[in-house]
Structures are given as C-alpha cells and as structure tokens.
C-alpha cells in the first residue's frame, strides 16, 4: 500500500516537473528561435551586400532558414501564449506594470504577423530571382531583411519588458523578496 502511494506521488511529481520544465522551456524557446531568425536575416542581408555567384546558394539557405525559424517562433510562442500566458497576464494586470500587457503584449502579438509574412516572402524573392542580375530584387531583399531584423529586435525588447512586468507584479505583491 505504501509502495503504491509512493508510486502515485512520484507520478504526480514527474508530471509536475515535466509541465514545469516544458513551460519554462517553451518560454525560452520562442525568443531563442526568433533570435535565430534574426541572425539568418542578417546573414542574408550581408550576403546580398556582397553578391556574387558564390553566395547565391547561401542567400537562399539564409532566406529559407529565416522563414523556418519565424514559423517555429509562431508555433512555439502561440503554444505558450494560449496554454500558459493567462496566469502571467492576470499577474501583470494586478501589478504596477499593467501596460506591459495592455500595450506591449497586445501590440506584440499582432505586429508579429507582419514579421511572419515578410519572413515567408524573403525566400520567395531570393529563390525566384537571379539576384546577381536583378538589382530590383536585391533592393527588395535588403528592405525585407532590414524590417525583419529591426522589427524582431523591437519585439524581443517588448518581450523582455513583459517578463519583467511579471517580476514587478510578484515583487509588488510580496511573493518574491528583493
């Protein structure tokens, strides 16, 4: 009987640990994937500035990777937002930095779609055009990557403020001591 009870307790503990680790893992995974997307966009930008026959394949690779990382960011951030964010939202709204949800999170979740669409456009431009011959397409790639890089960095900054707003709420409620 004791063995059975211990077994049940352990199962709950393991389930709790899996859920806890998964939440933290997903929370860190989505900005990390977005950073990878930014890095590959910078890569595409630099390769286009130094365009030659040698780096055409690399530009395509960088464009495809940017799209993949941004789609993965959408999936992981969406999973976290839909599954876990409600508790953080409640905390933020009760705390001193409620603007972090009302302004930053609300804006961030919708502005992200612009980055996602442009990330999907990037490989289309790089694959479907000969970037060596086509200055017009090169200009387009530079514009798209610039928007992805700057936009994503702003969203990363907003995400950092949102995370800090949770901490501010916990500090304000005396849950966490300084």
């Amino acid at each position: 009987m004791i063995q059975l009870k211990t077994y049940v307790d352990c199962t709950y503990l393991i389930q709790f640990l899996i859920l806890f680790i998964m939440k933290e893992f997903i929370l860190f995974l989505h900005p990390m994937l977005a950073v990878f997307g930014v890095i590959t966009a910078v890569w595409a930008f630099v390769e286009v500035l130094n365009i030659s026959e040698k780096n055409l394949k690399r530009i395509n690779t960088a464009g495809i990777l940017t799209a993949i990382f941004m789609v993965l960011t959408w999936i992981t951030s969406g999973f976290w937002y839909i599954t876990y964010y409600a508790a953080d939202k409640a905390l933020i709204l009760k705390g001193p930095w409620s603007f972090a949800h009302n302004l930053l999170m609300e804006s961030k979740e919708h502005v992200f779609f612009i980055i996602l669409i442009l990330s999907l456009l990037l490989p289309i431009v790089s694959i479907k055009n000969n970037l060596i011959e086509n200055k017009s397409a090169r200009t387009l790639v530079l514009a798209i990557t610039t928007i992805i890089i700057l936009g994503s960095l702003m969203l990363e900054g907003a995400g950092a403020v949102i995370s800090f707003a949770v901490r501010m709420s916990l500090l304000g409620n005396g849950v966490v001591s300084q």
Binding site: I51, I82, N102, I114, N129, E133, S136
Partner: protein
C-alpha cells in the same frame, strides 16, 4: 577575378505577386486587429472557431492572415501586369506599410489604455 553585376529591373511574377499580397495583408492585419477589439461580436466569433480543438482568437487571426497571404499571392502572381512593379517601389511600399501598420496597432492599444 571580378564579378560583373548586371541590371535587370523586372521582378519575377511570383515575387511581385506575393510582394503586393504582403503589402495588402499587412494592412489587413492592422484592420482586423482594430476591428476585433472595437466590435466584440467579431472577437466572440473568432474565439468560437475551433482549430485542432483549440479555440483562440489569436490562432484564428494568424491563420486568416496566412491564408490571405497565400491566396492573394497566388492571385496576383497570375496577373501579367504585376511585373511592372519595380523592386524599389515594392520595397518602399513594404517599409511604409510596416511602419504605419505597426504604429497603427501600437497607437490603437495606447488609446485603449486611456479610455
């Protein structure tokens, strides 16, 4: 050995088509964001749609944007006249729609805070 960079002003049909689709979808994204916040029945409708057993307006919003991008991109790619758009003008259009649409979303939620 130096590389000779030639110039060919025309964009590929698919690039121009999906580029124009991006501009339109970025604007529609802002319109849908503001519309669902200002018109609660629309938000409620979006919350009631189940995708893979999950009901969430943000998921529906994202899929609507993605599907519109693919459909409009496919539609505009078929148009021969779309080739007339230059990369420079498409770049300017993308940059300005991104700035204005993003600011539109931020300013809208800023106004909502002070309501």
């Amino acid at each position: 050995m130096s590389t000779i960079i030639q110039t060919k002003p025309e964009l590929d049909n698919i690039t121009a088509g999906f580029g124009v689709a991006s501009v339109i979808v970025i604007i529609l994204n802002t319109i849908l964001t503001i519309a669902k916040e200002m018109y609660p029945p629309l938000l409620a409708f979006m919350k009631n749609i189940s995708i893979f057993g999950i009901k969430h307006h943000w998921l529906v919003h994202g899929l609507v944007i993605l599907i519109l991008f693919l459909l409009l991109g496919w539609y505009f790619s078929k148009k021969e006249t779309i080739k007339k758009i230059s990369g420079a003008s498409l770049s300017k259009a993308l940059i300005w729609t991104t700035i204005i649409s993003s600011l539109g979303i931020v300013v809208f939620f800023l106004i909502e805070i002070f309501k």
